[in-house]
């Protein structure tokens, strides 16, 4: 049985590395998108179980990616976690997503949280 896939959308390579490590530690397979456009391309035909989405992206706004996710039928079951340093934007988007994580995001917290979210797959 394959591990569930998590898409990490984060332009900062170090943070992407840390988030990937934390999510991998919770036994997800991770895919990293360094910008919004890549994320949108990937999401056209992939259905990750989890998306960690940075709102502060260099090309397209994170909110645009979020809107795509909310409207895409094949992503209805996907758990969405916002990762942002922008507290006010995060608060306003809280009802739209499953989790809001305020940067700095602790490795341990992310690992434990995603661990709990891992879909229970039949053995």
């Amino acid at each position: 049985m394959n591990e569930p896939v998590a898409l990490i959308v984060e332009d900062d390579a170090k943070l992407a590395d840390i988030f990937s490590a934390a999510v991998r530690a919770a036994r997800f397979t991770t895919v990293v998108a360094e910008n919004g456009r890549t994320a949108l391309t990937l999401l056209q035909n992939q259905t990750p179980a989890l998306i960690v989405l940075d709102l502060h992206l260099p090309d397209v706004p994170g909110t645009e990616v979020l809107n795509f996710i909310k409207q895409a039928a094949h992503l209805a079951q996907t758990v969405v976690m916002l990762a942002t340093a922008d507290a006010w934007l995060a608060e306003s988007l809280r009802p739209e997503v499953d989790f809001v994580l305020m940067k700095p995001i602790s490795f341990a917290q992310l690992r434990d949280l995603t661990g709990r979210l891992r879909p229970s797959t039949p053995a």
Partner: protein, 603 residues
């Protein structure tokens, strides 16, 4: 006015006196005529009697008299007999003297003997009688020679009466003169005159008094009206003066125009504002004082003025030098000498415009600066947190053994990195929050949220800290609390984490408690208690000041901003914060906030 009344009084008095005198004169004349007629007819009757009884005795002497000298006449022997006859006839009468003349005017007989022989030919009375008339005269005599003696102070009525040959017919043969004593008659007549005069005077006096009374009343009425008119005139004059002063000394420019826009008057201020002399302005039309593009605007305001009676607007004037003068104008209309006139009050608003522009400029600059500051804060926030996140993340990964098992010292060093990063993060967060609040730009963004969710989130955040110090952490929500609240979740979380973080920081052992419960129909309470060092009474107000630190504390425990931020947020949320503390016993913060259950806002 008083003068007028005096004139009236005096002139009417004079008129009445004149009327009285005329009336008196008329009465006197009437009475006298009456008296003369009465006396004359009496004398004529006497003459008749004389003719009948005495003439036969007198006729021979009269006939002869023409031939006699005056001396001969005086000494004629028939005279005593004639005298006796006359005396006899006239004994009981009031006649005091008689004379008989022949046709030549010679006194043939007189009761006063000395006069016999005198000629009366040039006497008008005699001549009238000789022609057939009767001539009479009333005279007052101081002394008079009557039949028997001299009498004095008497009124005598004398008549020349013709004597006819045969009674009342036949030729005139002589003239008879009778002197009748009419003193009693004159006295009675005079009495009558005085009586009449008295009555007339009394009547006229009464009339005068009555007239004076009416005159007085009339004058009072007229005077009242006159004074009212005077007063009105005075008020009008004062009002005119006031307007005139207002017009000339007004700090605002004032125009008077007709409906064609022709300038009828302009005050000094207008001259100063526009640079034209008043005389020049009086030759101009108001259109000439505005730039061409204002014509349409003026038409619109004129229409408005016709409809509403008032127009207020801002418009540019054109000065003599060709400069534009922005002004605020207020136009009203009123009647002046039966003609409708427009009054325009013009206020120079150049200074106001300048101030407005400066204000706009300052505001734009401030807004720009504020936006720049916001942007800077957001960037700083992002740029600080991202590398901090990397430090924290990698340290945690090291600690978690992602890169292999660490030695004891490596573990210790990694812990120090994580710990310090945590402090640094906390400091940065508080600093950013404080900057945000101080900028006055903090706007609460209230929306519905599940209370339990918030409390769990905060609990999870601070539990690590509490457990690291071995403190018991209890978070309880009273069952009476609504599950959904309406508020700014982000800032409520800041309040909770700051208070709980503070509690943990200053408590060495024991517990930190969070209790949330309703305290009234529209209030709820966040209560955070700890069993820590407590706060000395003197410091209780200080703890809420920004950057305040526990005095003498060598190891800085934070930014000194946490409680300051909490209090500012509570104030923003229209709540209040109370502090109960005993040194070495612990501290309790009680925050009371208005309760907005979400039901109020849903649907």
């Amino acid at each position: 006015m008083i003068k007028l009344r005096r004139y009236f009084f005096i002139s009417s008095l004079i008129s009445f006196i004149v009327i009285a005198l005329l009336l008196g004169f008329f009465v006197r004349q009437t009475v006298r005529t009456n008296l003369v007629e009465t006396a004359e007819s009496k004398n004529v009757a006497l003459t008749q009697a004389f003719s009948n009884f005495l003439w036969p005795a007198f006729a021979p002497l009269v006939a002869e008299s023409a031939t006699l000298t005056p001396e001969a006449l005086q000494h004629d022997a028939r005279l005593p007999e004639l005298y006796r006859l006359v005396e006899e006839q006239l004994n009981d009468l009031s006649v005091v003297k008689i004379k008989v003349y022949n046709l030549e005017g010679i006194t043939v007989f007189s009761t006063e003997m000395a006069q016999i022989g005198d000629s009366q030919l040039d006497n008008v009375g005699f001549l009238a009688a000789r022609s057939g008339g009767v001539a009479s005269e009333l005279t007052h005599r101081e002394t008079f020679s009557a039949f028997e003696q001299e009498i004095s102070d008497l009124d005598v009525f004398s008549s020349y009466v013709p004597i006819y040959a045969n009674g009342s017919s036949g030729p005139i043969v002589g003239v008879f003169e009778v002197y009748d004593d009419v003193t009693p008659l004159v006295v009675r007549t005079n009495q009558l005159q005085w009586l009449a005069l008295g009555v007339v005077a009394v009547l006229l006096g009464l009339l005068f008094a009555f007239l004076t009374l009416i005159g007085q009343r009339t004058f009072n009425i007229v005077q009242g009206q006159y004074e009212a008119i005077r007063r009105n005139e005075q008020i009008l004059q004062e009002s005119e003066e006031k307007y005139s002063n207002l017009f000339q000394q007004s700090g605002d420019g004032i125009f008077l125009l007709d409906w064609h826009g022709r300038i009828r008057d302009a005050n000094l201020r207008i001259e100063q504002m526009l640079g034209y002399e008043r005389e020049e302005l009086l030759m101009m039309n108001i259109d000439q004082l505005h730039p061409e593009n204002a014509t349409q605007q003026i038409r619109q305001h004129t229409t408005h003025l016709r409809q509403k009676g008032l127009a207020q607007f801002e418009i540019d004037f054109l000065t003599r030098d060709g400069d534009l003068l922005p002004a605020e104008v207020s136009v009203t209309m009123f009647e002046l000498n039966g003609e409708q006139v427009l009054q325009g009050i013009v206020r120079d608003i150049r200074e106001r415009r300048r101030q407005e522009q400066a204000l706009r400029h300052a505001r734009d600059e401030a807004l720009e600066a504020s936006q720049m500051k916001s942007q800077l804060l957001a960037n700083v926030s992002h740029d600080l947190r991202t590398p901090l996140n990397a430090i924290l993340g990698y340290s945690e990964m090291l600690q978690a053994g992602v890169y292999g098992t660490l030695s004891g010292q490596q573990q210790e060093a990694t812990s120090q990195i994580i710990d310090s990063t945590g402090h640094l993060l906390n400091f940065v967060n508080n600093l950013l929050d404080q900057a945000h609040i101080e900028g006055g730009r903090l706007k609460l963004n209230p929306r519905p949220f599940p209370l339990l969710d918030l409390v769990q989130e905060v609990e999870e955040l601070v539990r690590v800290l509490a457990e690291a110090k071995g403190l018991a952490l209890h978070c309880t929500i009273a069952p009476e609390m609504p599950t959904q609240l309406y508020g700014d979740r982000y800032w409520l979380r800041q309040i909770l984490t700051n208070l709980l973080g503070n509690g943990i920081k200053f408590t060495g052992e024991g517990f930190v408690d969070l209790q949330i419960y309703p305290s009234g129909p529209a209030e709820w309470v966040i209560q955070v208690s700890d069993s820590g060092v407590g706060i000395a009474p003197a410091a209780r107000e200080m703890v809420f000041e920004p950057f305040w630190q526990v005095p003498g504390e060598k190891k800085k425990l934070g930014s000194g901003l946490g409680l300051s931020i909490v209090r500012q947020l509570v104030t923003l949320m229209n709540g209040r914060i109370d502090l109960h503390s005993e040194v070495d016993q612990g501290t309790t913060f009680v925050i009371t906030l208005p309760l907005h259950p979400v039901a109020e806002y849903v649907g």
